[in-house]
């Protein structure tokens, strides 16, 4: 172990990460007050702390390891994740018409979370080996194929939001890898052309979400409530918020599953603009430090790895906050480190560990 590498350990990133973890636990606590268990701390708070602690340990372990080893396990990781994504379609627990989790006794495993890392690693490996080829459509198409597999399997659950994260990871990675602007334009045209087809094949509930996004009051659907409730929650927080655990909307349990996708609304209501801004700053710092790691990475593999991971995190952040703030339709993506969820927390922290690993080893030559 190169002790000198620790000199380049990104302290800012880790501080932001720890701050986000603490923030997340506090918000899960507030969001789960007064649910089923009555008084006392909901079991989810304890579990979230557990996941984060385990995740932090994994983060340190991963940071300690040279990220290069990832390229040798890339294919194995990718294939097994694809396999588990296939398995979850069959044995996954059915919730609200979707199979996303495999129950493993004490915990639930969400394979799409692991697959995000696997895809980032796989794409980074593939594109680093084919750096010259990135200017050719063939390589671009091949990389798109790599992303399409986990994306399609996730869409099949169905889980639209998470499926799009794979697309985001691919887009970010391919763009930094050197996708020709011409090809980017072609891609955009293709997406535009495919939109009507996508619209027609979309399941009804997804279409409802778009309707509801445009006009939440049009139909009294459950999603309509969430949208309206989220806006009211966020807006009523004002500058400084209603007070921790004192948000009337949140404590009223109008938001379905408010400790997960809509936890930002709880935060915004209770801690106001100031609290929300603090969160955005922390997430922004995390993302930008991740991109910095990409910038100073000593090789293409490390660079693309960081970009892939950051792309996934950035997509989730913007989509989740955007949805809570009424800028985007409702999609089920968790807010990194804040939303309750074990698989997500572990996957994000491992990803940050990889970012650290790259940042620590950015000098090829130690003097």
């Amino acid at each position: 172990m190169e002790t000198r590498a620790w000199r380049h350990f990104d302290v800012v990133m880790i501080l932001a990460t720890v701050a986000l973890c603490i923030y997340g636990v506090a918000m899960v606590y507030s969001a789960t007050l007064g649910t089923e268990g009555g008084s006392g701390i909901d079991s989810r708070v304890a579990r979230q702390v557990l996941y984060l602690v385990v995740g932090m340990l994994l983060l340190v372990a991963v940071a300690t390891t040279d990220y290069q080893v990832l390229s040798s396990v890339a294919t194995a990781a990718y294939v097994s994740c694809a396999g588990v994504l296939l398995v979850v379609l069959v044995v996954g627990r059915l919730t609200h018409g979707s199979r996303r989790w495999i129950p493993l006794g004490f915990i639930d495993l969400q394979p799409s979370e692991l697959a995000k890392l696997a895809l980032a690693i796989m794409l980074a490996t593939f594109l680093a080996e084919n750096q010259d080829g990135v200017r050719s459509l063939r390589v671009v198409a091949q990389s798109a194929g790599l992303a399409l597999v986990p994306a399609a399997l996730t869409f099949a659950q169905p889980d639209l939001g998470t499926g799009l994260v794979f697309v985001a990871i691919w887009l970010g990675t391919i763009l930094v890898a050197g996708l020709r602007w011409l090809h980017a334009a072609l891609l955009a045209l293709l997406a535009a052309a495919a939109t009507p087809l996508a619209w027609l094949t979309m399941p009804q509930y997804m279409r409802d979400r778009v309707y509801v996004f445009i006009d939440p009051y049009q139909k009294p659907l459950d999603e309509g409530y969430n949208v309206i409730q989220a806006l009211i929650s966020v807006g009523s927080g004002g500058l400084t918020g209603r007070g921790f655990t004192s948000g009337t909307q949140s404590q009223l349990h109008f938001l379905r599953v408010q400790y997960a996708d809509f936890i930002f609304s709880v935060l915004a209501e209770e801690l106001g603009f100031v609290g929300a801004l603090a969160l955005l700053v922390l997430l922004g710092v995390l993302l930008l430090r991740g991109l910095r790691a990409a910038t100073v990475s000593r090789d293409a593999f490390g660079r693309l790895l960081c970009v892939g991971i950051v792309s996934g995190l950035a997509f989730q952040t913007f989509v989740n906050v955007g949805m809570n703030a009424g800028l985007l339709p409702v999609t089920g993506v968790p807010l990194p480190l804040i939303s309750y969820g074990g698989s997500s927390a572990l996957s994000v922290l491992v990803g940050i560990g990889i970012l650290e690993s790259v940042a620590m080893r950015h000098r090829r030559f130690e003097f």
Binding site: V176, L231, G235, L287
Partner: protein, 650 residues
């Protein structure tokens, strides 16, 4: 293979950019991320700071509320479609704590004035609620319409106070059917724990649930599935608009096997003489199916008091009443059956070959069992009279004891054993004694059947032949409920089928598509008695003879104990029993009285047992039994429903 990269810090940044396009793209990426955050921040600023006030007002004033809509509870009919239990809409004045102003005292005071309560009682009710802040806490139920309107009109001064329409359970005939129907009451914590995971019925801590009777044993069917109403409410919690309604699914209706006309007949007959005894019970069963036609126990209670909310005082009064009206004596109290039990002794003795149909016994007025230690002393077992030569038919008709002493216990000198206590009790068990019958009601007693082992354990004494004698005539060591005796009688009447007494005829529900669908409940046979049909026929003949006087085919004579019961044109079989009940202090012993009868003898339609406790014996029971059987069997077809004249379900 990655390209070799120069050491970054020694290179000119601009040159870097030109040589390494990825840096350009990374920079662009970083700019985009920053822009994204700026955009989010701007939106948040707009929502929270610029429009914050407006949203806060909406959060306070316009709230979404989802309330549970109670499902109508299934109604209960008797077998002819007469309504026995229904849901009557009433007004309830309640408080939703979340809608109260921060200082609720003035509201409590104003409300107290309107309702005639004390403010501190209202406050206590609200504070001690078990539900969350958004669930209505009832303050006063079954409020009159005028009062309800007054509260509604003054809603501005009473924020948080709501008037809702809530159905209360109404039992049309009150005490007449309370023992069968039971009542609904507030759900207990323990019940809620057990039931809270039911996804269809979705019990909340505020719900009412069947606590006893048919209301309880068929709670699953009677309770429907609550609906949901999503609405927007204002600061006072008043509904501003309805956003969606999930209709509740009503519970299934029940059609009972009870014939309420017969129930009323029997109840009136018992009530007319109630001052002569302590409690009275009667059970009538259709022998062909085991369906219970009537189940009466007096004194009864009015189960409507539980519906409107029983007060502590009323409950105390009911529970401390020495005659125990809350206990359904027809199924829950066991007594010595007396001479009625002789039918079982006879059936057992015939079946085991101890006696045959033509076996004659000299009923000489009594037996003496010699004392084992001193043969000159002995215990005398008496009889109601000297009947001379008797066979099983005349012995049953006369209710001669000696025949049954000998059939059940053998000769006093021990030369024969007769049926023996073990086999006697086995036959009693075959007829359903000693165990609950399985009727769909809670609180059924199992009764008691003694045995030598039991006597040794409980009293440390050995079993004597005299004990078997007493058991054989049902005077001791046997305790049975009126229901058990009626069920046994039905098995004799129908030729050997012991059914589980059935209270519910049909469950009327709706399927998923809302179409009416009724599920008839079939009779359940507990067992076919292993007794040859011709032997049971002899027992029946004995009971038939009990209503008359004459000569049996084997030449013995009888003057039946139930002679007055028979009527021309009505073929009845019956027997009566008087069981003595010693009172302390040497006062004149009181007696329990039994009547057991069925008819018509060929193809019986009803088997009836009447029991009166601590009265003057069998006379009253017999009179009541005869009147009830007569009334039922001479009633025209369909007159059951007409006689009531109201409440038909059509």
């Amino acid at each position: 293979m990655s390209r070799a990269e120069p050491i970054t810090s020694l290179q000119d940044p601009i040159e870097e950019l030109e040589e390494n396009p990825y840096r350009q793209r990374l920079l662009l990426y970083q700019v985009l991320v920053v822009l994204g955050f700026v955009l989010l921040t701007a939106q948040l600023w707009r929502l929270q700071v610029v429009e914050g006030e407006r949203y806060r007002a909406r959060a306070d004033n316009n709230r979404f509320r989802e309330i549970s809509v109670e499902a109508p509870r299934g109604v209960i009919y008797d077998r002819n479609g007469i309504l026995l239990a229904r849901n009557r809409p009433t007004y309830t004045v309640g408080i939703v704590p979340a809608d109260l102003p921060p200082e609720p005292e003035p509201v409590y005071r104003r409300l107290a004035v309107v309702l005639g309560l004390r403010p501190q009682d209202i406050r206590r009710t609200v504070d001690q609620r078990k539900s969350d802040r958004f669930t209505l806490v009832p303050i006063q139920t079954n409020v009159g319409q005028d009062l309800a309107f007054i509260v509604e009109e003054r809603h501005r001064e009473l924020p948080g106070v709501h008037v809702v329409v809530q159905p209360i359970r109404e039992y049309v005939d009150g005490p007449l059917t309370s023992q069968v129907l039971g009542y609904v009451g507030p759900i207990t914590e323990e019940q809620h724990q057990r039931l809270k995971s039911d996804p269809i019925r979705r019990y909340s801590l505020n719900d009412r649930i069947g606590q006893t009777g048919v209301e309880s044993s068929f709670e699953r069917e009677l309770r429907g599935s609550p609906g949901k109403r999503q609405m927007e409410v204002d600061a006072g919690g008043r509904e501003v608009s309805v956003l969606s309604v999930d209709e509740p699914a009503p519970g299934s209706n029940l059609v009972l096997t009870i014939d309420v006309d017969l129930q009323k007949t029997i109840s009136d007959l018992l009530a007319a003489r109630l001052d002569r005894f302590e409690t009275a019970s009667a059970v009538a069963i259709d022998p062909a199916t085991g369906r219970v036609l009537a189940l009466v126990h007096l004194p009864a209670y009015d189960n409507n008091v539980f519906s409107r909310g029983i007060t502590e005082k009323e409950l105390q009064a009911l529970m401390s009443d020495p005659r125990r009206p809350l206990l359904n004596g027809a199924i829950g109290s066991a007594y010595s059956p007396g001479a009625i039990f002789k039918t079982i002794t006879a059936a057992g003795a015939l079946s085991e070959g101890i006696v045959k149909a033509d076996t004659k016994v000299n009923c000489s007025g009594g037996l003496i069992v010699p004392n084992r230690l001193d043969p000159t002393l002995g215990t005398r077992f008496g009889d109601a009279g000297v009947f001379g030569e008797q066979d099983v038919v005349s012995a049953l008709a006369n209710s001669c004891n000696v025949y049954f002493y000998l059939a059940g216990g053998g000769e006093p000198d021990g030369k024969t054993e007769g049926l023996g206590i073990a086999r006697l009790m086995d036959y009693a068990r075959l007829f359903g004694l000693g165990a609950p019958s399985g009727i769909d009601l809670d609180g059924e007693a199992a009764g008691f059947l003694g045995s030598p082992d039991w006597k040794k354990e409980a009293h440390g004494e050995t079993w004597y032949k005299g004990d078997t004698y007493l058991a054989a005539i049902g005077q001791d060591y046997v305790l049975a409920t009126p229901l058990q005796m009626a069920n046994a009688l039905a098995a004799i009447a129908n030729g050997g089928n012991l059914f589980r007494p059935q209270l519910v005829l049909e469950v009327e529900g709706t399927d998923e598509r809302g179409n009416a669908r009724s599920r008839p409940l079939e009779p359940q046979l507990i067992r076919r008695l292993p007794i040859a049909p011709e032997l049971l026929a002899a027992v029946r003949e004995g009971l038939r003879a009990a209503t008359q006087s004459g000569r049996t085919r084997y030449g013995t004579t009888y003057a039946g104990t139930a002679r007055g019961v028979d009527l021309p044109g009505l073929d009845l079989a019956a027997t009566v029993a008087t069981v003595e009940y010693a009172r302390p202090g040497g006062a004149e012993p009181l007696t329990h009285g039994w009547f057991a009868g069925f008819g018509p003898v060929e193809q019986p339609r009803i088997a009836l047992v009447v029991f009166v406790s601590r009265g003057k014996g069998a006379e009253d029971a017999a009179e009541i039994g005869k009147a009830a059987l007569t009334r039922y069997l001479t009633r025209g077809p369909g007159s059951g429903a007409e006689a009531r004249g109201l409440g038909s379900r059509q």
